[in-house]
Amino acid sequence: MLDLGSLAEGCPAITAAFGQYLAEAGSVCLESQGHVPGVLLSIRGLAPQDHEVVWPEATEQMRRCLNDPEVATEHGAVGVAVVLAKEVVGYSVIERSRKGTGFDYWLGDNGELPFQNMARLEISGIREGTADQIESRVRQKLRQVAPSDDTGLPAYVVVVEFGRPCAEVRDS
């Protein structure tokens, strides 16, 4: 079972406060599609399997705070992907850096320097999309993280779609 509420306990690279925010974003996105806790999230690609997902009930205040649908979808997808990474890839997110309107996340083992010998977790969210739109987003993300030569960085791509709901998990 994937429990978005567990994000509020914090993890190596996410504070409890931000984890709670990510969980709320995930709740708002899932409930906006008419889902209730316990819905099955279909994982495809790496380790395909259905997982039951539960989350804290979204309040009106959460919905007001997350009124930009793109921001809510982006951060909701991060919440789902962070919980999913441990289940599917076997790693917790242990590093992040500021990027765009949020952060990018990295999986691996702690070293002397941040980001050494780590794999990037490239996350994207779709509030409600067709199979073609999901596949197109996966290809786009794989192209973005594709190593162009030997110095390229390993990466996992997770595209979360909240309508079905499902998540495509691939490695580069």
Partner: protein, 371 residues
């Protein structure tokens, strides 16, 4: 705190808290937290060893620090960090991400006043994008946006004077004279002009008149909400349906087309500090209709033709007719209150594309644009 790991971890904690504060609209706290996050991230960069294998760590920290510098409204520092990263041979695909970030830095620089001083009744409007050269832009792109900004300013003034929405006829002479929009000579930034709004001359005798800086502030607030898709905020600010429809339609026309113009920026000055609004949300993603549950969404239609008939005598909603070229098919279109004067009327006798929902034989207009 001595290691890069420690500095970076602390920086990200501050950045997370800053993001939460920004989402809660606590901008003062967000600014302070982002500044602290930037200080710590620069500390992480300084703590890196001077030799040995330090990629991709160095590039990721530089990209992170440059993003934080933009959060702190310091595009010069962001530019230096990105340039250093590229000069030092950032590994792919991080090099491309640094170039993308440099684009954002350039966007932000377009909004800086660069020695131009603004009074509190002035705005700088900046346009940037593929179709905008240094100090050069298509006249249609520029003039339309100046015209729409002017209409928006007048509508804010009329609404704040508690005047009912004016669907037809000229605006009151007093409003036109008090809040007339003046345009400076353009400057290269990529393309920027100062828009100066008139001030009511009888402010002392009639204190109920809306002061011009309040109108500038409300304009900046509303355009921020458009970029963030904060439609609830817009509804709270503009409860009147006709004024709100009018605002959203004009804001959509102001927004970037995503092709020739990628950014429409506005800058104002309050208490000596510059305030920016970067509108990067393309017009196609500015929602002008009130949202309905999926089950209640009616069938949408799109029609292309010439706008050849308009009837604004029906009070709260006018009618227009669109004549399809070639077939001559006539479509009757109902124009919701708030759209006729500022949005539809300027397109008289033009080839247009309209979209809306079917209600019997009528199309209820959502959007109209010249083609």
């Amino acid at each position: 705190m001595t290691t890069a790991n420690e500095f970076h971890g602390a920086a990200m904690e501050q950045a997370e808290l800053a993001l939460i504060a920004r989402l809660a609209h606590d901008h003062e706290r967000a600014d302070a937290l982002f500044l602290e996050a930037l200080r710590l991230e620069l500390g992480a960069l300084q703590a890196l060893p001077v030799s040995g294998e330090i990629e991709p760590t160095r590039t990721i920290l530089r990209r992170s620090a440059a993003t934080l510098a933009l959060d702190c409204n310091d595009p010069n520092l962001a530019e230096r960090l990105v340039a250093q990263g590229l000069a030092d041979g950032a590994p792919p695909p991080l090099d491309e991400e640094l170039r993308d970030l440099m684009e954002q830095v350039h966007f932000r620089r377009h909004l800086l006043l660069r020695g131009v001083s603004l009074d509190d009744d002035e705005l700088q409007m900046s346009l940037a994008g593929q179709g905008v050269g240094l100090g050069v832009v298509s006249s249609a792109q520029f003039l339309q946006r100046v015209g729409d900004t002017s209409k928006l300013i007048y509508r804010i003034a009329e609404r704040r004077r508690s005047l009912p929405f004016r669907e037809t006829g000229r605006r009151r002479k007093a409003v036109s004279e008090d809040y007339e929009l003046f345009v400076s000579v353009p400057r290269a930034a990529s393309f920027a002009v100062t828009l100066k709004i008139g001030r009511p001359t009888d402010q002392e005798r009639f204190p109920e008149l809306v002061d011009t800086p309040e109108i500038v502030d409300e304009f900046m607030d509303l355009m921020t909400m458009v970029d963030k898709a904060d439609y609830e905020g817009i509804r709270d600010c503009i409860p009147d349906q006709a004024y709100r429809t009018n605002f959203l339609q004009l804001a959509k026309r102001l927004a970037p087309d995503g092709e020739d113009v990628g950014l429409v920026g506005f800058t104002s000055v309050r208490s000596g500090s510059e305030r920016f609004v970067e509108v990067t949300r393309p017009k196609a993603r500015v929602v002008t209709t009130e949202s309905l549950p999926d089950a209640e969404k009616p069938e949408r239609v799109t029609v292309r033709g010439t706008l050849l008939f308009a009837d604004a005598t029906r009070g709260d909603a006018g009618q227009i007719r669109i004549v399809e070229e070639g077939t001559g098919t006539v479509h009757q279109v109902k124009v919701p209150e708030g759209m006729m004067a500022d949005i539809v009327k300027p397109l008289w006798e033009c080839a247009v594309e309209i979209s809306g929902v079917l209600e019997g034989k009528l199309i209820i207009l959502d959007e109209i644009d010249s083609i």
